[in-house]
Structure formats: structure tokens, C-alpha cells
Symmetry: C2
Subunit: 112 residues, 2 copies
């Protein structure tokens, strides 16, 4: 059995003020991760599920960016208010939240 059933990485990367890409830290990445951590604990889902800080996930324009492993589902523009839905639907029911997903073609399109 693997150590974590679900491992949630939340970008908390901080760029200098005024950087054109923006950054997840300025869009409440830290608060999003804190909410995951608090709720996973309250719901008894930790330690088999862990919310983890991540450096830049190279999806700044979609921030706050979250990626959940092992399934590698990407979420964009995640707010503190979205966390409960991701926990209830994706983590508990294994039904990813479609409205927040970053589609694979979006990543490909963004690549130069």
C-alpha cells in the first residue's frame, strides 16, 4: 500500500510584485492549502491524504493551480471556497470536479 492514497499539491509560488505571469501566492495559494489541510484533518482523511505546498507548477496563468496524484488531475483558478467540493467529490467519491479542471489541450496550447 502506498503511503498516501491522495497527494494534493498546491502551488504557493511567489513571484516579484508586478511580474506579468502573476503567481499563485498572490491568488491565495497559501490559504487554499491551509483549507485543504484543516478539512482533511477534520474529516479524518489525513494521514492517508496530504495537502502539500509546491513550488511553481508552470501553470501560473491558471493559478491557484492544484494537481492531485496519483491520477494527475489538474485544477485551475482554485479558491478557498472550492476546496470542500474537491474534497467531497474528488477525494472522497473519486469524481473529479469538471468545472475546475484544466484540460490537457489547454496546457499544450499554452506551450510555445
Amino acid at each position: 500500500m502506498k503511503r498516501f492514497e491522495k497527494h494534493i499539491f498546491v502551488c504557493e509560488n511567489k513571484r516579484p510584485e508586478g511580474h506579468p505571469k502573476g503567481c499563485c501566492a498572490d491568488k491565495n495559494g497559501v490559504e487554499v492549502r491551509a483549507k485543504f489541510k484543516k478539512r482533511l484533518k477534520e474529516l479524518g482523511l489525513s494521514p492517508s491524504m496530504r495537502s502539500n505546498a509546491a513550488g511553481c507548477l508552470d501553470a501560473c496563468e491558471h493559478g491557484v493551480t492544484v494537481v492531485i496524484y496519483p491520477e494527475q488531475i489538474w485544477y485551475g483558478n482554485v479558491t478557498v471556497d472550492d476546496v470542500e467540493e474537491i474534497i467531497q467529490d474528488h477525494l472522497i467519491k473519486n469524481s473529479p470536479v469538471e468545472r475546475l479542471k484544466i484540460q490537457d489541450e489547454k496546457f499544450n496550447k499554452d506551450k510555445k
Copy 2:
């Protein structure tokens, strides 16, 4: 197809000086990640493989700690000199480096 074929998270967590747990930053976590990044680029493995900074992976006593997804293989006490072996054996040949693996039971034993 998933965005990343391999996603390598390297703990770069920094604890205050003298903290009993120690921390990956003091054991060259930043340098380990930089080496992964440099070599993945040189070998043409990025962007389908990405080395990413991570906050505390809750395995401080095994630091520098590295976890590779989607397979969730954990490595401990990783040095800059170990990076090439992980890339060649695990990332390229899909043959994890046994001598560096943190065994699952080690995690369980450490839990209070």
C-alpha cells in the same frame, strides 16, 4: 495523455536553525532539485518530466526526500550525486533505485 509522464517533487523545506527534525533545505534540497532540472533539460526529457520544489513532505528524518509520481516512489537521503542514477534507472528505464528507496514500513514505523 497526461501533462507530465514523470513528476519529481523534491523537498526544499527550510526549518529554523537547530530544529530537532532537521530539514531538507539544510541537506541540499535546493541543489538536488537544480541538478534534476538541469539534467532533464540536457537529456531532452523536459517538458514531459518535471522536477518540482515541494514544501515539507513529512519525512524530514529521511531528507533530502524525493517522491516521484505517478508511481509514488519515495527516495531518502538523496544527494546531488544520486540524481543521475535516478534519472537513468528510474525515469528512463522505469527501474527504481532500490538502494535509495524509503520502504513503506519505515513510514508506518515512524508514525506515532
